[in-house]
Amino acid sequence: MFASLPGVLFDGVAYGSLLFLMSIGLSVTMGLMRFINLAHGAFAMLGGYVCVVGMARLGVPFLLMLPLAFLAAAAAGAVLERTLYRRLYRRSPLDQVLFSLGLTLMSVAGATYVWGSGQQPVHLPGFLLGQVRVLGVDVGVYRLFLVALVGAITAALVLLVRRTRFGARIRASVDDAQASAGLGINVTRVFSVTFTLGSGLAGLGGALAIDVLGLDPTFPLKYLVYFLLVVVVGGAGSIAGTLAASLLLGVFDVSGKYYVPAVGAFVIYGLMVVLLLLFPGGLRRGAR
């Protein structure tokens, strides 16, 4: 019953890719508007529930539900950004914390009301079950699928940010919103689109995470720390930093829980405090 080190590492990487998917939107929006959004996990939870409901009630296949989960969370993000978030960009961090905490509590209570407080099951299609042997290591097919999918999405995001005109606008707005606005970039719109995209990715992450992390109404609170951790450690607004932080946290968390279960959660919190001490501005700025 003693899993090989490479196997545990791979599980950590798969877990880290999920974290990346769910926190990249938070990271970019925090970098753009310095908005402290504690409700980001609610979008991930929404994606998860949309996936479960679509599969169980309507019989839609899992792979088709993934883009739908993305769309549902993105739509919710777009509406909330337009109606509520936008009014709070210039407010104090405390206001933002209170507002997003309120939103989180409402989402937790709402999900409990609609779907009950129990864990939601997900039935993965047959070809994603089981294990395969890759380079002499037994890995779960689903985890392999996760890593590949997140790899592809990351590549697409990097292309979007590095190679397109819209990406250039995002980079300019993250670096200096005021100067970008002066150059004729519609920063508010850039932010709207980024927020929508980020919420959608969180929804997709939430749908993919059901099998690994589980899904119940406390999801936004349970994983809040992890999302914030990834952003703070990775440095807000950086794709590379967020990816590095997600993988680091994923590997440490999984191997910590596996090899030293007695100190379990300490590993991750201890890592966080140490990283924050070493790199107060995030990994990216620390490495510069």
């Binding site: 914390v97 905490l101 309120g102 409402m106 937790v108 709402g110 914030l228 703070v232 919190y269 405090v273």
Partner: protein, 326 residues
Amino acid sequence: MSAAPAVALPDARWRPAEVAFWLAAVAAIFVFPGHLVLGSQVLITGLFALSLDLILGYAGIVSLGHAAMFGAGAYTAGLLAKHGWGEPLSGLLAAAAVGAVIAWATSFIAVRGGDLTRLMVTLGIGLMLYEAANQAASVTGGVDGLSDMAVRDLLGLFPFDLAGRTAYVYSLAVLFAVFLVCRRIVRSPFGLSLRGIRDGARRMPAIGSPVRRRLIAVYTVAGAIAGVAGALLAQTTQFVGLEVLGFSRSADLLIMLVLGGAGWLYGGVVGAALFMIAQSQLSSINPVYWQFWLGLLLVVMVFAARGGVVGAAAAARERLLRRSAR
């Protein structure tokens, strides 16, 4: 905190509203003799909120892990009482010392950086202490909590009764004593420099104010007060559960303080009273609804009613005075 009172020269006189507030707290002993258990919980939570008000309302530190010091104080008093030292007042002092030491030790990482970093560090420290108490089940009782405490009679005269009369008077006396100290602190030059740091952290060093040292000092004082509040809860309920260190205790505390109004000292007690009375009424109907309405209230407050109850009352009074002066 944009809604905090404008900086005026400190005025130590007692306002009629303040006197009325404390008289009402005393009168509650005779008016609501059947609700003193809840009453003492409100006072204890109010004391806890008062300590958060010092660092949030005055120094501008947003903390999501203030329960760390509260829980440490509760476990200190609880463990002392369990292992033969059941004298309440010295238990309070020990808890204050433990709270202060923990706050001081963590202040070096908790008060640096921007708001987001502070938020994360305080949250992380709180979660680590929770996990530590959970793992050290042989000492703390783990998820079962710490019971079998033998708290001795208060001052050797007043036993803790089931109706909560002693608990209420004890909590009220401690709250009032600590409140006097806090009232003095925020009106001192030290307290004024804290407000300066809150409103313009970059300018304060320019006038020779040691920002970092001031923040560490106030964080330590707040830690001691939080420790006292935790000890009061442990002694009056004769039980310490893991949730004294939980995230929701820190988050609820923040909500209560903002609901009552941060930066007025009274906001914490008022917020704790409103929050806990509403909670005990509504959550008996359905705990899930309570959470939903609480969330909605927060969202609405951020948009419509900054400054909380005490802030709104002060603004109304200001308007009245201006009208009568015309």
